[in-house]
């Protein structure tokens, strides 16, 4: 069912708040990855707050939908969503990357609501594939989502899973590529040209969809189309902007993993507006 204008507006407001909270958390510990959290904001928010069937009161429900955040450095945005869903206590984001915290720099499966550990890039898609295989063996209708970074597709292991998931006809698996075209050392074109991204996935046997990764109705529509596709896995290539929402971070590789000064945080929060 298409998302209503009212719900879209609610999610937009939520995304603004998540952006602020993620930046505040990264600034507070002076360590982390602002850029990737901002680009993946709508993707994770639409998944967790709108489409995924997960319930914090039943975290081990065998029929819950799963999400593997393969680009594990965007963990702050994942935590924003898990807090909102009730998996993690309100206010816990301030413990990000601190000693004794549940909120590791890169998400770990021992943290409530996290379905797979991540950090080393390239290996999340195969884990999501395994979940999809297991759920199918169990006769479960649950779906598995895997959020990939674009720089991450430079890892060969991504293409191992890209090869095998269509062999197993995993139509309960949906990958979403956060296609922001910027990585740590520069643009993807500078560091490692990725060439025809949709063409590559098509050649590997995937159902390939493309949308604006900051457009909430477009993302929900793509996720619904993915669910309707039978006999093969789907990848949604979501065009995004690294650092989205903060003008001086947008499209800048420097903000991939840079600490945020108090002055820059203040400017960013002003741009993002809304109640603190």
């Amino acid at each position: 069912m298409p998302i209503t204008a009212q719900r879209t507006a609610e999610l937009k407001t939520l995304c603004r708040r998540f952006r602020r909270e993620a930046l505040e958390a990264v600034a507070a510990i002076q360590s982390g990855h602002p850029g990737g959290s901002l680009s993946v904001c709508e993707i994770l928010t639409v998944l967790y707050q709108e489409r995924m069937r997960v319930d914090a009161s039943r975290p081990d429900d065998p029929d819950r939908d799963r999400l593997v955040l393969s680009k594990g450095h965007a963990a702050p945005m994942l935590y924003c969503n898990l807090i909102e869903k009730g998996f993690l206590p309100k206010g816990s984001l301030s413990t990000l990357r601190r000693i004794d915290s549940q909120l590791q720099g890169h998400a770990c499966i021992h943290t409530p609501g996290v379905d797979m550990s991540a950090g080393p890039l390239g290996i999340g898609l195969a884990a999501a594939q395994g979940m999809a295989m297991g759920l199918r063996l169990n006769g479960s209708a649950a779906r598995v989502y895997c959020v990939l970074g674009d720089g991450e597709t430079e890892e060969g292991a991504v293409w191992e899973a890209a090869t095998s998931a269509p062999k197993f006809a995993l139509d309960n698996l949906c990958a979403i590529l956060d296609y922001n075209k910027v990585q740590l050392d520069g643009t993807t074109d500078e560091v490692m040209p990725l060439r025809d991204m949709p063409g590559k996935w098509t050649a590997f046997g995937w159902n390939v969809l493309r949308c604006d990764g900051h457009d909430i109705p477009a993302l929900t529509e793509a996720l619904d189309a993915a669910e309707r596709c039978k006999g093969k896995p789907t990848i949604i290539i979501a065009d995004t902007i690294k650092g989205k929402g903060v003008s001086f971070m947008e499209g800048k590789a420097a903000w991939h993993g840079k600490a945020i000064s108090p002055e820059d945080l203040e400017r960013a929060l002003q741009e993002l507006g809304g109640d603190k």
Partner: protein, 313 residues
Amino acid sequence: MPKAIREVYGAALAELGAQNEDIVVLDADLSGSTKSAMFGKAFPERFFNMGIAESNMVSTAAGLSTTGKIPFVNTFTVFLTTLGLIATRAQVCYGNLNVKFGGAYCGMSDAFDGASHHATEDIAVMRSLPNMTVIAPADAAATRWATRFAAETWGPMYLRLSRDVYPDLYPEDYPFQLGKGAIVREGRDVTVIACGLLVHNAIAAAEELEKEKGVSVRVVDMYSIKPIDKDLILRCAAETGAIVTAEEHNIYGGLGGAVSEVLAWGGAGVPTEFVGIQDTFTESGPYKQLLAKYGVDAAGVRAGIEKVLARKK
């Protein structure tokens, strides 16, 4: 007539598959060699050939385990513990997931394929991972126990399996136990602590030395490498006053390393010698000739015993 360890493992896996439908098996295009194909033939819907993609196989197993499955991943262990390592560390061990590693063709047992196919660092790699259990069976009964134990016990577990035939050592109902070693030959003058094939070579060396020189050699099969039997190691050091470790593995970081850690921790202070691959790459050739050239046949163990006895006061 004893069967090759890989055959014993494949049959045990297929038998377990009939008893527990949560067991799933993955291979990386070597199922005919690892013998995981025996499971695949019996339960095709629970067998996944992942192609030549070890990282993909281990990550997939990690995902499967989160849905209640008990995945056994299989390939030559030299590839499993290198190409499969990032997923083993970052997903399986970090998450303490219920994935079992069938490491086929350990040591130089894939003899003719040469150094590229010989696994001589795998114990060092796998035992350094938190949450990982490491078991190296030395006969068919131990292999059947280890396979069953892996299926029935939660957590990441590595089984170090040979391509080759090992003579029988144990009765089928032997009470194997995680964290325990077994004295398979009594002796007073020195203890050889060995695993896998080297248990047999140590027994042969011990018998020779007893016959020829009247030396009394104890042999321990340390099939549980992690956790390891600290009490038994320290007891052997105290009772026999000299230790030789013996393994088809680099002398660094493997069983010799594990035993040394215990001896140092316990302040045992006994002379120790290390029989194993001497920090070198191996080569192609007939298995027996390789074992001799790289010092891990019975003569190699014997040389280690004689060296340690010369140092023992």
